[in-house]
């Protein structure tokens, strides 16, 4: 039975990063949009899937679909192995200390909400403070606002400088024994800024605060080591890292996790149930009530195998080149103004075109086959900070090429021409 088929990565066969061979692993990249070759630069919204991920789903459903953790039959055993095997892949991918520290969730959003509703309710009291940053996605703002409202705690926000970087001095001043939690993006989805997470953690821990990092936009771009970072919680999402939608993971330090109350009640999260008393299952199962998203968890594992085989360092190097090139070619268009010019940046360029609303730009780019995001990127406070209604965001992945960046630049020039 094929439950752990190895991905075929043709790209890593040579020392040079062979992007054309990698592109052939992603069937969607050969399609056309509006009669033009698809130039997919909306990877921060979701990434495309390699054939091995698509195959992992098909194989599961056509060969060993069964419920997990309960059956004695062959299919159930195979499904359980594949599902738990994917957990080990996630653990190794972010270098968590043990597999029990990985909790399956629906999304990075659910990972954050899980922490807010379990650890948060238990540990945040009236008068306490939670610190977030000015570049957070709504998913790392709203759960904390809800928690603060419920517990009578105060939400504080680390401001951004004009480049879209955290004002670390201000962060240091905000930290005090009142602060129980710091929640920050590892990489900003709207600006691409890579935050100095080790420093954030060090300063927070010195004051006794726990740190949650939203890693949804970080894991697709470079190797992540949660133990080296030292964070207490780390949220990630499968579909941002070339896996299926509908599944994500929460990393939580084992000691914290074992002390947390359960999230949802139901099957699989219990050791025994009577009408008088229920004994909860061990972690991480205590947090995984009900039949989980088995197929997509297995697909998530296949995606991790794939990027690991390509090599996260090779991916980071290729994307660094793309980012530099995109910055260079777009800078040569006088009407383009970048929003977010942090020194440390993932392969994301966010910009506005003088005299053109980003939604019009987005439509005109689409007509030329170039898929970007035009909007507030679920980060409205960031738009407010930079006094723009929205931006055009081109977010790159390791399968993008310099010639696709050229297509983006040509399309942007066309926007400028149309509106002037």
């Amino acid at each position: 039975m094929t439950t752990t088929s190895q991905p075929t990565i043709t790209g890593q066969a040579t020392n040079a990063f062979d992007v054309e061979r990698i592109r052939r692993d992603f069937p969607i990249l050969s399609r056309e949009v509006h009669g033009k070759p698809l130039v997919y630069l909306d990877n921060a919204a979701t990434t495309q899937k390699p054939q091995c991920v698509i195959d992992a789903l098909t194989t599961y459903y056509s060969e060993y679909n069964a419920n997990i953790h309960r059956g004695v039959h062959a299919l159930s055993v195979a499904a359980t192995e594949a599902y738990e095997g994917a957990r080990l892949k996630i653990q190794r991918f972010i270098n968590a200390g043990r597999p029990e520290e990985i909790v399956y969730v629906r999304s990075a959003t659910e990972a954050i909400n899980l922490v807010a509703q379990t650890w948060g309710v238990e540990n945040i009291a009236a008068g306490d403070e939670i610190i977030i940053t000015g570049m957070e996605h709504h998913s790392n703002i709203v759960p904390w606002q809800m928690l603060c409202a419920k517990q009578g705690a105060r939400l504080r926000v680390v401001p951004l400088n004009d480049n879209g970087e955290l004002e670390l001095d201000e962060y240091e001043r905000m930290l005090s024994p009142k602060v129980k939690l710091v929640a920050a993006a590892h990489v900003s989805n709207a600006l691409g800024t890579v935050n100095p997470v080790e420093r954030l953690v060090e300063l927070a821990h010195a004051q006794g605060a726990v740190v949650l990092l939203d890693g949804a936009q970080a894991v697709p771009h470079a190797a992540v080591d949660v133990q080296a970072i030292g964070c207490d919680f780390y949220a990630l999402s499968s579909h941002k890292v070339f896996g299926p939608t509908g599944v994500g993971a929460l990393y939580a330090k084992y000691d914290l996790l074992t002390k947390m109350p359960p999230y949802q009640g139901g099957g699989d999260m219990i050791a025994s149930v009577t009408f008088e008393n229920t004994i909860y299952n061990d972690v991480p199962h205590k947090f995984e009530a009900g039949t989980p998203n088995i197929a997509d968890a297995i697909g998530f594992g296949a995606a991790i195998d794939y990027v690991t085989a390509v090599g996260m360092d090779a991916i980071a190097a290729h994307e660094r080149d793309l980012l530099e090139y995109a910055t260079e070619v777009l800078s040569s268009i006088p009407e383009v103004r970048f929003i977010g010019t942090a020194k440390a940046r993932a392969a994301v360029v966010s910009f506005v075109i003088e005299g053109v609303h980003p939604h019009d730009a987005g439509t005109i780019l689409d007509l030329q086959g170039v898929a970007v995001r035009a909007g507030h990127h679920c980060a409205q406070p960031v738009m407010l900070r930079f006094k723009v209604p929205a931006t055009v965001r081109a977010s790159m992945a390791f399968y993008n090429t310099r010639s696709e960046i050229d297509a983006l630049a040509t399309a942007v020039r066309c926007v400028v021409e149309k509106f002037n």
Partner: protein, 151 residues
């Protein structure tokens, strides 16, 4: 450039985006409504001066993409001078044009200049941009005193 692009962004739309007509607050407005598109954050305020059963003056305030700005601008030109029922009927026909469902009103008089928006129905993501000002003016005509959302 592609004909698709020219169909969507016709000269009239580009012109009304650059030089929106009647974009100002109307002092002493009889009716007013606010429209909001939560998807893109576009806001529009529409002001009406009514005399008898006729729209004497109509203006708007707000900013958004070219489609929504031009649509608001052309809406003010189209609605001015109409009776309240004519204006509501115009809303129905414009809505039909944009959503590609002309329905029973297709036999009526042509939409004139407003037909420049006919290309929008091919872009579902942009339909709300074109209809925001119209939903808002309809709310003002109906005198609904709440914020109108496209959602």
């Amino acid at each position: 450039m592609t004909s698709e692009l020219d169909d969507l962004y016709q000269e009239v739309i580009l012109d009304h985006n650059k030089r929106p007509r009647n974009r100002k607050k109307l002092e002493n407005a009889d009716r007013q409504a606010e429209g909001y598109n939560p998807l893109c954050g576009d806001h529009v305020n529409v002001f009406l001066k009514i005399e008898g059963d006729r729209v004497r003056e109509v203006t708007f305030e707000g900013s958004g993409c070219a489609i929504s700005t031009a649509s608001a601008s052309l809406m003010t030109e189209a609605v001015r001078g109409k009776t309240l029922s004519e204006a509501k009927e115009l809303f129905g026909r414009f809505h039909g044009l944009i959503t590609g469902e002309p329905g029973e009103t297709s036999d009526g008089p042509g939409l004139g200049k407003l037909e420049v928006f006919s290309g929008v129905c091919k872009y579902p993501a942009r339909v709300k941009c074109a209809t925001l000002a119209w939903h808002t003016v309809k709310a003002a005509l109906d005198d609904e005193g709440e914020v109108i959302s496209t959602e």
